[in-house]
């Protein structure tokens, strides 16, 4: 079951690399968020207490529903909903993604996690998620796509956290989720402000500040 969920996360990353529509990016990130919420609850089922349950459910709701809802709402406000000219197209993104996946799998063998109870796909899955998020931020021009990239990166870090630690202090985990919530909220507000000021959210055009 662990491996199955991690493979799903990896496949969604591949799907994200191949898509150009912003709504599609957000929707698939939402699916990934739900899977990670399930993953959090499932991986800690043997140690399930009230606070662990709250964190798992909170992550599922935030990553699977709230963040995507914010981003979809913002997409409706701003002018465009499609990456017309990403720096790297879908085919190029996929090819680069495949190389990154192979490198992630190799790195996974170089970085063993203590204990025998964790999936060997966890480290590669995390590294590939972080790569995917980074790549979306670098290769896409629309600010919303970059915000999605940030979410995918955070999803990767979240996966290794809940996949390996049966318990992390409630204040730390809730603090992390609160920070994430604020980050996405601020990003969407800022994207709306930028759209109002520039009449676009193409970060390629954000070139007034140089040198």
């Amino acid at each position: 079951m662990f491996d199955f969920l991690i493979v799903l996360v990896i496949l969604i990353n591949v799907r994200l690399l191949a898509t150009g529509r912003i709504e599609s990016l957000i929707s698939w990130t939402a699916v990934q968020g739900v899977i990670l919420g399930v993953f959090a609850l499932y991986s800690r089922q043997a140690h399930l207490s009230v606070d662990v349950f709250i964190i798992g459910l909170g992550a599922l709701l935030l990553k699977g529903l709230v963040f995507p809802a914010f981003l979809l709402h913002t997409t409706k406000i701003v002018v465009t909903s499609r990456e017309t000219e990403p720096y790297v197209g879908p085919i190029g993104s996929l090819l680069i993604g495949m190389v990154a996946l192979v490198v992630s799998l190799w790195l996974g063998t170089r970085l063993p996690i203590p204990g025998t109870d964790t999936s060997h796909l966890l480290v590669p899955g995390t590294l590939f998620s972080i790569f995917t998020g980074q790549f979306l931020i670098i290769s896409r021009k629309m600010a919303i796509s970059q915000a999605v990239g940030f979410l995918v990166m955070e999803n990767g870090a979240f996966m290794i956290g809940v996949g390996t630690l049966y318990y992390a202090p409630f204040f730390v985990e809730s603090g992390v989720l609160l920070d994430m919530f604020l980050a996405v909220l601020i990003m969407t507000v800022l994207i709306t402000d930028m759209n109002r000021a520039f009449h676009h959210i193409d970060t390629h055009e954000l070139s007034r500040l140089k040198g």
Binding site: R110, L111, P114, I160, G161, Y167, V176, L178, M187, L209
Partner: protein, 499 residues
């Protein structure tokens, strides 16, 4: 008052004052409440620092909060920078209020975020739990991002987006670093609630997995290094520093960068103790430090905007501090001394740049000539602070740079010495030519003289006096605190031949 209450108040007071400031309809009152909150926090902070110096490390909230010499030293720098910057904000925004340039909503944005940003930075320093330290660091990004946009312009929006995105991504890397650190301690027989405590990790370094610790450090270095403005992850910094209002630029350069560097320094002793003190992490710091100095020095030569020049100067000085930490030994002490010196001189330079920018209506250096004639106090302030920043005698920046150089020479690091000298010489030339024309050049015909009051004089004199005094004489309590702070990084009780 218990240590627990004292440490908690350091976070609670600024949060409350930020909240309270939102309930008043007077712009001045809103601004004053924010500054008062900072001053009250500074008073409690001084008590906490005094206790650490006299009693040793103090703890609170099941050891989740603590103040050891390293965090106490940084807290002292923070309180100085925030205290001065809060006074300056009254002067800076006061000028805009007199001309009705600012709305109540803009003042509320500033006051509502200013002190909570301070609370987040204090949380970073007093967290013994590395997870909470990360939460505090991410909170500083979120809370300070809208401070860049107090004056909402196209440029400030662009700067804010770059800042928010790049730093959030960086901090996500740091999060992974923190997780890997926790994983390295997975098999330790520790209560899960206590496993991320820095003091516990330090007590169990022999049982940590070296491979994971190294991976954790790389992620933390890149992540927190992004927030610290280390090259090549510094790209957000010149935009954010130059487009933020000057009091905000002052806390960005004067402390926020140091807070991120402080987080890296919490990782260093763990890595070194786990990997057998091989100097692996120090070599990485040396590399990033030198690269930052050299890259910043080349950009400084081509700057036309005063605040961008100061921003690149921050990249250079963060590089110097990182280099000092990387050299180790006496270099660590010198790096801490340089932290204080840079924070004070950069705070003053952003104050002066801000006030002169208001007078000239621009930050273009070729149009800011003759500032000493236009505004003797702030003209002198910018000139002296730029001289201090390039390490002119007798300012204390010279002393700390000399100590770092001496540590490199003593360690027979010939390559490091050459590259360091190359970098700071380039910056010396690059900044001095601008400093001379800004101070003594021929002013334009249509620039009016600036009004000066006692607060202007205080804000220029206070940092300058400290920089001059520290250049000539080192007070024993500060020397002792920096020695102890360096010992925390070295994981020893004394550092031998520190100056």
């Amino acid at each position: 008052m218990s240590n627990e209450l004292l440490l908690s108040l350091l976070v609670i007071i600024p949060l409350v004052s930020g909240l309270v400031s939102q309930f008043f309809a007077s712009k001045w009152l809103t601004l004053l409440i924010s500054a008062t909150g900072v001053m009250i926090t500074a008073a409690f902070g001084a008590v906490a620092i005094h206790r650490t110096i006299t009693q040793g490390t103090i703890f609170g909230l099941s050891d989740w909060l603590f103040l050891d010499p390293l965090s106490a030293f940084h807290l002292a720098v923070l309180l100085m920078v925030f205290g001065l910057s809060s006074l300056f904000s009254i002067r800076y925004f006061g000028e805009e209020l007199e001309h009705s340039y600012l709305t109540l909503s803009q003042i509320r944005t500033f006051s509502g975020l200013w002190t909570p940003a301070m609370a987040a930075m204090i949380l970073v320093l007093i967290s013994n739990n590395l997870g909470i330290m990360w939460v505090g660091m991410e909170a500083t990004t979120l809370l300070t991002s809208f401070l860049i946009c107090v004056h909402m312009t196209r440029e400030s929006l662009e700067a804010m987006w770059k800042y928010l995105l790049i730093c959030s991504v960086g901090i996500a890397f740091a999060f992974l670093g923190t997780l890997l650190l926790r994983l390295a301690a997975k098999d330790l027989p520790l209560d899960p609630n206590q496993a991320l405590l820095w003091t516990n990790l330090m007590a169990n370094t022999k049982s940590l997995a070296p491979a994971l610790i190294k991976a954790a450090f790389i992620f933390a270095l890149v992540g927190y290094g992004t927030k610290a403005g280390l090259a090549p992850m510094h790209t957000w910094l010149p935009d954010a520093h130059s487009k933020a209002p000057s009091p905000v630029s002052a806390i960005f350069s004067g402390f926020m960068l140091n807070a991120a560097l402080y987080c890296i320094m919490r990782f260093v002793p763990i890595v070194e103790a786990t990997t057998g003190n091989t100097g692996w992490s120090l070599r990485l710091l040396t590399g990033f430090g030198l690269f930052s100095i050299l890259l910043a020095s080349t950009f400084i030569l081509h700057q036309h905007d005063l605040k961008r020049l100061l921003a690149y100067c921050s990249v250079e000085h963060i590089g110097i501090i990182t280099l000092g930490f990387g050299i180790g030994g006496a270099g660590t002490y010198a790096a801490l001394f340089h932290t204080l010196n840079h924070s004070l001189s950069k705070t003053l330079s952003f104050f002066a740049a801000g006030r002169l920018g208001q007078v000239y209506g621009t930050y273009k250096m070729d149009r800011m000539a003759g500032s000493v004639k236009i505004s003797p106090i702030w003209g002198l302030g910018i000139f002296a602070s730029l001289l201090a920043l390039i390490g002119v005698v007798p300012f204390s920046v010279f002393m700390s740079e000399f100590q770092i150089l001496k540590a490199a020479v003593d360690g027979e690091r010939v390559g490091v010495v050459i590259l360091f000298l190359l970098g700071i010489s380039t910056v010396f030339v690059g900044i001095l030519r601008h400093a001379l024309s800004i101070a003594w050049g021929k002013p334009g015909e249509y620039v009016d003289s600036a009004s000066i009051n006692w607060l202007d004089r205080l804000l220029v004199a206070a940092p300058l006096i400290v920089l001059l005094v520290l250049g000539l004489w080192m007070p024993q309590p500060l020397h002792s605190l920096m020695r102890q702070a360096a010992a925390v990084i070295h994981n020893t009780h004394d550092i031998g031949d520190a100056p």
